[in-house]
Amino acid sequence: MADITPTAAENIPPAEVEDVELYHAKSWLTKYVFCQDAKVIAIQYSCTAIAIGLVALVLSWLMRLQLGFPESFSFIDAEDYYQFITMHGMIMVIYLLTALFLGGFGNYLIPLMVGARDMVFPYVNMLSFWIYLLAVAVLVASFFVPGGPTGAGWTLYPPQAILEGTPGSGAGIILMLVSLSLFIIGFTMGGLNYVVTVLQARTRGMTLMRLPLTIWGIFVATILALLAFPALFVGAVMMTLDRLLGTSFFMPEIYAMGKQLSYGGGSPILFQHLFWFFGHPEVYIVALPAFGIVSDLLSVHARRHIFGYRMMVWAIVIIGALSFIVWAHHMYVSGMNPWFGFFFATTTLIIAVPTALKVYNWTLTLWRGNINLTIPMLFALAFIVTFVNGGITGLFLGNVVVDVPLSDTMFVVAHFHMVMGVAPILVIFGAIYHWYPLMSGRMLDEKMGRFHFWVTFIGSYTIFLPLHYLGLLGVPRRYFEMGDTSFIPASAQDLNAFVTVVALIVGFAQMVFLFNLFWSLKNGKDAGQNPWKAASLEWQCDRVPPGHGNFGAELPVVYRWAYDYGVPGAPDDFIAQNDPGTGDIEHRT
């Protein structure tokens, strides 16, 4: 099939939709604080998410110190430990990963990659960030109220979550639930923007199938978020009423300290269903943008088109759809009917198929590619390795019979940290190294970057691989110390101590990364227009960093997909999406 001829490029019909009249800020406050430009909002989201993520990182150090050296830290008692695990988990999953992938990368990359000047509802977009910031503020406030933050576990299971005996059952749980409700409202507002922008605001020639996979990942993840967060909202509202008004949506008849409480008739299982109906799509809300971004990182840095683009899109869509029918694999030990478990185990194994397909396609993208071992590429490769590891342990846990003894052990902790903690975080780092030149016009420092990569990758593996063995031994999760048991050998405690030391070293490496982010703003090498020679639209702006309105006077016109790398006969090893071409290149069929 021949490439587009220059004469075809002249026949572009005039735009049917007027170029949108972009909002221009007039005061300092509306330009830098209450800014409606998606790029500024993205940076606001990212900075807030990383800041609260650092709080969660410190909590993880405290947990590791307690687990590694249980006798040494007398200021950490069991109650504190429960509060650490709860806040660490909730912050990392929702306030860091979801906010950073959708609010941070989504806001920055969606308008640029689809060829729009901004999101379709900029005012609502701006509000969504401030509501997110309010949600974070309410969450942080829970650290300072009497009783401290909730220690119910990130899953907040009733009835314990709101009963005396659980840390933070006073004000902490209320603030957590209020914070989650605010977060959901804010993310619904943002999600409307992302979905409608991708569907309706693409530039001429940008069909859905010419979108980079980053956008597909974020787009489908946003749809999942819009459909799944309501379930968490419903659970949060009902639990708040149970706590504040004494209703019994989730509270069965309970005797506490020999006295019968006023609750009765409620169902804790109802909360579990609501929570996990949200909770499973939530992990795909984190994973799908990571999948999309990794596809683009591999493609750009291996100078090769993504293998099987269509199947990758189908896989993202199918994973998104299937993610709604696997939730009860988090509930195998809840006392459910075995046939129920059988159904969900089946759907869980089915969802592994499109996921595995993506792994094969990433690997095949690298095959015969011109692999440049740049820092983003290193992180992308590390993602594949760690995600495969975490995904395979997921197959273990997806089977009911294997899950029953492994449930609530460190094996589960190892699994979800690999798939949610290590793999997507590696993608976030890779994405930051990749797009930092676009956002700032400078490259991040190479030496610090390579140090950061190797310590993080090897270190994270060293932290979480041994936890699988601890789990197989039967070491339980959510215990603040192992204590004396007959089935846990003393060497397990030594292993815990070793893991703690590695965790602290990996934590130090993140400080180097943070320093690099700030240092390179002033001292980084000048990046130029398109340092990675990428084909997608965000690198084809008139200036770097892109200005307000993104593309200068005229919106780009798209002639090809985002993966024209190594096209035989082309003048360079890539052809930008908005390049009409010369007409004499034989395109691959």
């Binding site: 587009i4 572009i12 379709v120 199938m209 869509v317």
Partner: protein
Amino acid sequence: MNFFREISQKPWLTTDGPDREIREPIAFALPQATLGVRVLLLVISIIFSLFVIAYSDRMLFHDWRAMPEPWLLWVNTLMLICASVALHGATLSARQKSRDDLQARLWVAAAFSIAFLGGQALVWRELFMLGYFADSNPANAYFYLLTGLHGLHLLGGLGALSLTVTRFYGGAKTDQLERSVDLCAVYWHYLLVVWLIVFGLLLFT
């Protein structure tokens, strides 16, 4: 746009499909704000559907004691219907570019909506006085929960309506307002349907 046909295309072939023109690839032949409101209504539908599912499950238990239905609830329903009718009329006025009618109908819609919310507050007060507290019985809890959330959504809608009214007085042209008024009307009709479902549940269980 057939989604499945769309994602079956082969983008590595630079010209694909029957038409080789480069055109605006819009997914739905809808204005952006309309699509945004429809997606929002989908999200709100999921919230209320989940509540209805939980309600339907819980009401089968033996300890369920249905609440009395104050006649004021019927009056409030009428208020909400009138608000919807007024907003529908406002949409027609905007289309016909009659500013005076539009202004009157917007205020009438707002008034009926506030009357509805006030009436709901009175119903709550009446039930409290009769001793039907939220924690007494699951039926009570679900009643307050469902009516409370519906009322909050209506309050949010009033916020959007007030923005439209502000733009009206700010001198916006009637055709610019037409879209906003239309979307407000869609939202009100939606909340009316939700209310009828919630009210129906309360009446028949």
